[in-house]
């Protein structure tokens, strides 16, 4: 296995889609713009030419019903990958996702009813997107039984999780942060699956555990570098799979470090951070905790406010410092890291 090959995050996803569509003729990909010139930021580029318009197609602007169509197609034996270029639009599909996809197998008593469906959805801060194009609504879905949710941060996990999502016989929500699209990492050419319910230890450390969800995993890696400056050793974990959640990996890290910052890529109230912290408390883990995430307001458009809205590496580093040295005066990293040197490339 050539683990040295570098792929970008979107290339990893495209490769996964290509390989799975090649392998299994029941895989189809649809959603607004999948076959257009922009091709979902390149991730679906070439698919329609290769596999034809019955397997790769654009849809009307009908998020609710197209989700129903995906479910129906899944019941009929296909493996649909339904793409939303922004998670905000999925609010139109909540009825089909929660009332139907998540429940069908259960409410029909199992048997031969199952819904092998992948919902690919992009999230994330990007320049000036504002209130309705920036939401990261996975906490809403984590509350619902019957869904699997993954939000890998590395190209390696993106490919493995995508293949796993397609092969999984249940509805999977696959979350991609736009800023991760700049990430490169080692990705084997062969197909491989990435088991759900298994977190990724991105970097080892001894003083504090940083858990970062989706793109916040990258911010945590950056924060780790900043913290080295202050002589603090941070362990960084990417949960990868939000539902089911691998609390074991986080628990053993926190048991070691005694300190935890969970950095959510979303609003925090009833969020993943609260869930992780509560599960640790339920295990009687002795620790100091802190959670970070979006400010509890609608996302503003102007950059001077956006800056305050989102967590980032420097804020995480300062916060970690404060947890370690509550009596010292606040610290913020002075150096400006070159981003390239920080990304974690594997191999895994």
């Amino acid at each position: 296995m050539n683990t040295q090959r570098l792929l970008s995050y979107p290339e990893a996803i495209r490769e996964a889609l290509n390989q799975e569509m090649e392998r299994d003729p029941s895989v189809i990909v649809f959603g607004l713009g999948v076959d257009d010139p922009k091709a979902i930021l390149g991730t679906t580029k070439g698919l329609v030419e290769r596999f034809g318009p019955h397997r790769v197609f654009d849809t009307p602007l009908s998020e609710d019903s197209m989700t129903g169509v995906a479910i129906g197609a899944a019941l009929a034996g296909l493996r649909p990958v339904h793409v939303h270029i922004r998670m905000d639009f999925m609010l139109l599909a909540m009825n089909q996702i929660i009332n139907m996809a998540a429940k069908m197998r259960y409410m029909f008593g199992g048997g031969d009813i199952y819904v092998p469906l992948v919902i690919r959805t992009l999230i994330g801060k990007s320049w000036g997107q504002g209130p309705q194009h920036s939401q990261s609504l996975y906490p809403l879905l984590m509350n619902i039984p019957g869904l699997k949710i993954v939000a890998p941060s590395t190209p390696y996990d993106a490919k493995g999780c995508m293949i796993q999502s397609i092969r999984d016989d249940n509805p999977v929500v696959f979350i991609e942060h736009r800023l991760l699209y700049y990430q490169k990492g080692h990705v084997p050419e062969e197909t491989y699956t990435r088991a759900f319910g298994k977190a990724r230890l991105l970097a080892e450390g001894s003083d504090i555990t940083l858990v970062g969800i989706s793109q916040m995993a990258v911010e945590c890696l950056r924060a780790k570098r900043y913290l080295e400056e202050a002589g603090i050793s941070a362990e960084v974990i990417d949960p990868v799979s939000l539902s089911p959640l691998d609390i074991d990996t986080i628990a053993s890290s926190v048991s070691k470090t005694g300190r935890l910052i969970v950095v959510d890529n979303a609003w925090m109230v009833c969020g993943a951070g609260a869930e992780i912290i509560t599960q640790l408390i339920e295990r009687n883990i002795n620790m100091q905790v802190h959670r970070m995430g979006f400010a509890f307001v609608t996302c503003p458009t102007t950059p001077t406010l956006e800056e305050h809205f989102y967590p980032n590496a420097k804020k995480i580093a300062s916060r970690a410092y404060e947890m370690l040295y509550p009596d010292r005066k606040p610290w913020t990293p002075k150096t400006e890291l070159q981003l390239e040197e920080i990304e974690f490339k594997g191999p895994f």
């Binding site: 019903s65 129906g72 197998r105 999984d168 249940n170």
Partner: protein, 319 residues
């Protein structure tokens, strides 16, 4: 109308009688609390399900609503499993997890009913996409009430089905009421077919509830759909005799008149079919069906409730 042979009329009668009697039994037993979920009876509306399902063949599938007993049985769904499901038993078609509103029998092509209005419409369309994709000439029938017309999903689903020329017959069972709201208190006019046609598909309305007309019309449309001509919309006017949910009449509520229902009772298709058969044939059928029903209720009665551990099963399919 062409003449139908006796065997066919017997088949229709058997199916109609089975549904009517099963629901009458459900209504009778309901107050004992043996049935463990609310029931939405189809009594009065059976001819739509029976007429249409008789025009289907193996491999065709149906999707429907919480008012789904008639469709389930007309399509051949297992009676024992249905009654056991209503009783909340582990032997039910959904292992007791669904109840009356969530019936399924995939072997017979009953692909499920849902309690959220409009939800199975796009799912039917997606299933039809799957059939077409796989080169099958099977057909999907999507049953829904007039209430579903109000939902955005109706619009989006018909649009997509027409766009992709999918093999689906949309059947609106128009009993004019969504719970207690009349169609005209929810719409400017009574022109469902005009709307459906605007998506780009043939739309037909059958006003009189005539089971032969429903059968013939459905047959004709299904044949066209099978040949790849794309979706068709069929509106069947009908009448719910009982209350929206539960086993009783509801004339005391005052939202509709007894007369409205009476004129449908007069043209009850069950009676009509019975009159087309010899009394001997009728008793043979009725006796058989009564026995079937008796067996089904006994089966349900004797079956055990699910054990607590079943609660945690069926969330995911393990690969």
């Amino acid at each position: 109308m062409k003449t139908f042979d006796t065997a066919f009329i017997e088949r229709l009668y058997r199916s109609m009688y089975l549904i009517r009697r099963v629901e009458e039994e459900i209504a009778r037993i309901y107050p004992t609390d043996k049935i463990k979920s609310p029931v939405h009876l189809s009594i009065g509306q059976e001819a739509v399900s029976v007429g249409i399902c008789e025009a289907l063949r193996d491999g065709d599938v149906v999707f429907g609503t919480y008012r789904g007993h008639a469709m389930y049985l007309a399509k051949g769904g297992d009676l024992k499993k249905m009654i056991a499901e209503l009783y909340g038993k582990i032997t039910g078609c959904a292992r007791g997890k669904g109840g009356s509103m969530h019936l399924i029998d995939t072997e017979k092509g009953v692909m499920g009913t849902s309690a959220i209005v409009g939800t199975t419409i796009p799912i039917s369309v997606g299933y039809a996409y799957g059939l077409k994709y796989n080169g099958s000439d099977s057909v999907v029938v999507s049953f829904f009430g007039d209430g579903a017309i109000d939902e955005g999903a109706f619009h989006e689903s018909l649009n997509f089905a027409a766009l992709k020329k999918l093999p689906v017959l949309f059947v609106c069972e128009n009993n004019f009421y969504a719970i207690h709201s009349h169609h005209l208190s929810r719409h400017h006019s009574d022109n469902i077919c005009e709307r459906a046609a605007s998506y780009g598909m043939p739309a037909e309305k059958i006003e009189d509830g005539d089971i032969f007309r429903i059968y013939e019309s459905a047959g004709k449309h299904i044949e066209a759909i099978r040949q790849g001509k794309g979706p068709v919309f069929l509106e069947c006017i009908t009448c719910r005799w009982k209350e929206h949910v539960g086993p009783n009449d509801d004339f005391h509520l005052g939202y509709r008149s007894e007369k409205e229902v009476a004129c449908w009772k007069e043209k009850d298709q069950l009676t009509r079919l019975r009159n087309l058969l010899s009394s001997n044939n009728v008793s043979v059928i009725e006796n058989e069906v009564e026995q079937e029903i008796k067996d089904a209720f006994e089966f349900a009665e004797k079956s055990p409730f699910p054990e607590g551990v079943v609660l945690y099963e069926d969330v995911f399919k393990e690969s």
